[in-house]
C-alpha cells in the first residue's frame, strides 16, 4: 500500500477541472461542436495566461537578480518589493508613441512583431506540462517544435529589413547567422535524446526518464555521460537561439544600437520583448523535457507533489541559470561566436551522438557508461586543449572589490 497515493483529483487538478466544466456544460445541453471550441479555448487561454504571468514575473525578477549580482537594489518603488513594476512597464509601453520611420516598409514593419509572437506561442503546444497534460499530443512533437520555431528567423529578418535602417539590417543579419549556426548543435543534441528513446513524442521521452535507479536515483538523461554533454550543448545553443547573453550581440548597444529592434517603440517593442521571453520559456521547457525528466519528480517519495509543479519548478530553475549567466559573462565577439559554434559545439554534438549510440548498444550498463564517457571526454580534452593552447589560463586577480 502506498501511503503517498493521493486522490487523482488533487494531482490532476487542471485536467479534472476542465473535464468537470465541460461535462457541466454538456448537461446544460450545449452542442458538441461548441464544447470542442470551448475545450480548445480553455487550454489555449490557460497556456497564454500562465506564460504571460510568468513573463511579467520574470521581467521584474530578472532585474532584481541582476541588481543583486551587481550589488544594487533594482526596481523597488512600485508595489511591495517592486513586484508591480511589470504593470507600470506595461502602461508605459501601451501609452508610448508608436514611431514608424518614414521610409520604412510599412506592412513588413507592422507584421514583424506579430510573426515573431506566433511561433513563440505555437511551440508551447507540444510541451508536456504534467502527467497527461500535453495540449497537442503529436507523434513528432520535437520536430514540430523546431519546424515552427523556424518562423522566428523570418520575423527577425522582417523586422530588420522593414525598418529600413542599416543598424537594423546588420543586427538582423547577425541574428539570423547566429540562429542558423546554433540551430545545428541544438537539433543534433535533441536528436540524440530522440534516438535513445526511440520516439520523437515529448510525452514518450518524459516517460522513458521515469525510472529510479537503485530505488532513488532519477533516470533523467542528464545523469548519463552523453546526456550531460548533450544537455550542456543544448543549453548553450538555447542561449544563442533566444539571443541571450553572452550571445546577445545582435543587439550589441555599443555597435548596433539595438539591432533589429532599433526602430521599434511602444507596444510593438513590448511584443518583441514578450515573444523573446516566451520563446526562452519554451526552449527551457524543451530542455527540461529532453534532459531533466520533464514533469517527473526527482525522488520517489516526492511524487505526491503534482507533476506540473515539478515541470514549472524546473523551468524556473533553468530560466534562473540563464539570468545568472547574463549577470556573469561578458558579450562574445562575432567571430568568436561563429568559431565556437562550428569548431567546438558541432564536433562535440557529434561526439555526444556517437556516445549515445555506443551507450545503447553496449547495454546501458556500467560498461556503457565508461565507454560513452570516454567517447565524449576525449574530444572535449582535445578540442579544449586546442583552443586554449594560445592562452595561459590563471586565476583572476581582483583589483577593486577584494
Amino acid at each position: 500500500m502506498n501511503f503517498f497515493a493521493l486522490p487523482v483529483h488533487f494531482v490532476q487538478a487542471p485536467n479534472e477541472l476542465k473535464a468537470w466544466f465541460l461535462s457541466l456544460l454538456a448537461s446544460f445541453g450545449v452542442p458538441a461542436w461548441l464544447l470542442v471550441v470551448i475545450s480548445a479555448v480553455l487550454v489555449i487561454g490557460t497556456i497564454i495566461g500562465v506564460f504571460l504571468v510568468l513573463f511579467a514575473l520574470t521581467s521584474v525578477l530578472e532585474r532584481k537578480i541582476l541588481a543583486r549580482v551587481q550589488n544594487r537594489y533594482g526596481p523597488n518603488r512600485v508595489g511591495p518589493c517592486g513586484l508591480f513594476q511589470p504593470v507600470a512597464d506595461g502602461i508605459k509601453m501601451i501609452t508610448k508613441e508608436d514611431l514608424v520611420p518614414r521610409s520604412a516598409d510599412k506592412i513588413v514593419h507592422f507584421l514583424a512583431p506579430v510573426v515573431m509572437m506566433v511561433p513563440a506561442l505555437m511551440v508551447l503546444a507540444i510541451l508536456p506540462y504534467g502527467r497527461d497534460m500535453v495540449p497537442a499530443e503529436l507523434d513528432a512533437g520535437i520536430l514540430y517544435f523546431f519546424a515552427v520555431g523556424a518562423g522566428t528567423e523570418v520575423a527577425v529578418f522582417m523586422a530588420g529589413w522593414g525598418s529600413n535602417n542599416k543598424y537594423s539590417v546588420l543586427g538582423a543579419m547577425r541574428a539570423i547567422a547566429q540562429m542558423v549556426s546554433y540551430e545545428l548543435p541544438l537539433i543534433i543534441s535533441a536528436v540524440v535524446v530522440a534516438m535513445v528513446t526511440g520516439s520523437l513524442a515529448p510525452s514518450a521521452i518524459v516517460t522513458a526518464q521515469g525510472d529510479f535507479a537503485f530505488g532513488f536515483f532519477p533516470g533523467w538523461y542528464v545523469f548519463t555521460p552523453w546526456g550531460f554533454v548533450a544537455c550542456l550543448l543544448f543549453y548553450i545553443a538555447a542561449l544563442a537561439e533566444s539571443n541571450r547573453c553572452p550571445f546577445d550581440l545582435p543587439e550589441g548597444e555599443s555597435e548596433l544600437v539595438a539591432g533589429h529592434l532599433t526602430e521599434y517603440s511602444g507596444f510593438k517593442y513590448a511584443t518583441f520583448f514578450m515573444a523573446e521571453y516566451v520563446g526562452m520559456f519554451a526552449i527551457c521547457g524543451l530542455l527540461v523535457t529532453l534532459f531533466l525528466g520533464g514533469w517527473q519528480a526527482p525522488l520517489p517519495f516526492l511524487t505526491i507533489v503534482p507533476s506540473w509543479c515539478w515541470f514549472f519548478g524546473k523551468v524556473a530553475f533553468v530560466a534562473f541559470t540563464m539570468i545568472w549567466v547574463r549577470a556573469t559573462l561578458p558579450r562574445m565577439r562575432i567571430d568568436h561566436l561563429m568559431t565556437f559554434a562550428w569548431k567546438f559545439m558541432l564536433p562535440m554534438s557529434f561526439a555526444a551522438f556517437l556516445a549515445a549510440a555506443c551507450w545503447h548498444y553496449a547495454g546501458r550498463g556500467p560498461l556503457a557508461w565508461a565507454l560513452s564517457a570516454v567517447i565524449v571526454g576525449v574530444p572535449y580534452l582535445v578540442l579544449g586543449n586546442h583552443f586554449t593552447a594560445r592562452f595561459s589560463v590563471t586565476n583572476r586577480r581582483y583589483q577593486f572589490s577584494e
Binding site: 473535464a19 458538441a32 461542436w33 470542442v36 513588413v108 507523434d139 519546424a147 515552427v148 518562423g151
Partner: protein
C-alpha cells in the same frame, strides 16, 4: 471522463479536416501568385515563404505529419532564409543590366510554357495506371515507421543524398575560402 474528452477531440478533427485542407490551399495559391507578380523582391520572397508555410499545413491536414513538419523546417527555416540572404547580398545594380534570354518572349512565352507544362503533367497523370485504380484507404504513417523505412529499405538512397549534400557543403567552403596565393 477521459473517454469523454477523447470523443470530443475525434469530433473536432472530423468537423474541420476539410476546411483545414481547403483554406491553406487557397492561401498557398494566392501567396504563390503574389510571389510571382510582386515587383518588390523582398515582398515576393516573403510571399513565397507564406506559400511554403501553407503547403506544410496542407500536408499536415492531409495526415502526412512528418512531411509537413519537414517542409516547414527545411523550406521556412533554410530555403526562405537562403533566398532572403541572396537578395540582401546582391546589390540592385547587379540586376539592373541583367536580362533573361527569354525576356523577348514577354508574357505570351510565360503563359505558353505554363500551359504546356500543365498539359504534359495532366496527360502523364491520367495515362498513369495509378489513376485508374481505386483509391486505397489512406495509409497511417507514424514517424517511427518512416524512420524504420529510411534506415532499412531506403538506406542507400539516404546515404547517397547525404554524400551529395556533404560534397556541396565542401564545395561551398572551398569557394568561400580566401585565395592564399598572390
Amino acid at each position: 471522463m477521459n473517454e469523454f474528452l477523447q470523443r470530443l477531440n475525434a469530433l473536432s478533427w472530423d468537423a474541420c479536416s476539410q476546411w483545414l485542407v481547403l483554406i491553406p490551399s487557397g492561401v498557398m495559391l494566392l501567396a504563390a501568385a503574389a510571389a510571382a507578380a510582386l515587383r518588390n523582391l523582398i515582398h515576393a520572397a516573403l510571399c513565397l515563404t507564406l506559400s511554403f508555410i501553407a503547403l506544410g499545413i496542407v500536408f499536415i491536414a492531409l495526415g502526412a505529419e512528418f512531411v509537413g513538419l519537414v517542409q516547414l523546417l527545411v523550406y521556412v527555416g533554410a530555403v526562405a532564409m537562403l533566398i532572403v540572404f541572396a537578395i540582401l547580398l546582391t546589390r540592385p545594380s547587379d540586376l539592373a543590366g541583367a536580362k533573361s534570354p527569354f525576356a523577348g518572349l514577354g508574357p505570351v512565352g510565360g503563359i505558353l510554357t505554363g500551359a504546356g507544362l500543365l498539359v504534359a503533367l495532366l496527360a502523364f497523370i491520367f495515362s498513369s495506371p495509378v489513376a485508374k485504380t481505386a483509391l486505397p484507404p489512406a495509409p497511417v504513417a507514424p514517424v517511427a515507421k518512416i524512420g524504420e523505412l529510411l534506415m532499412g529499405s531506403y538506406i542507400v538512397p539516404l546515404q547517397v543524398v547525404g554524400v551529395l549534400l556533404t560534397a556541396a557543403l565542401i564545395g561551398a567552403a572551398v569557394l568561400a575560402m580566401e585565395d592564399k596565393q598572390p
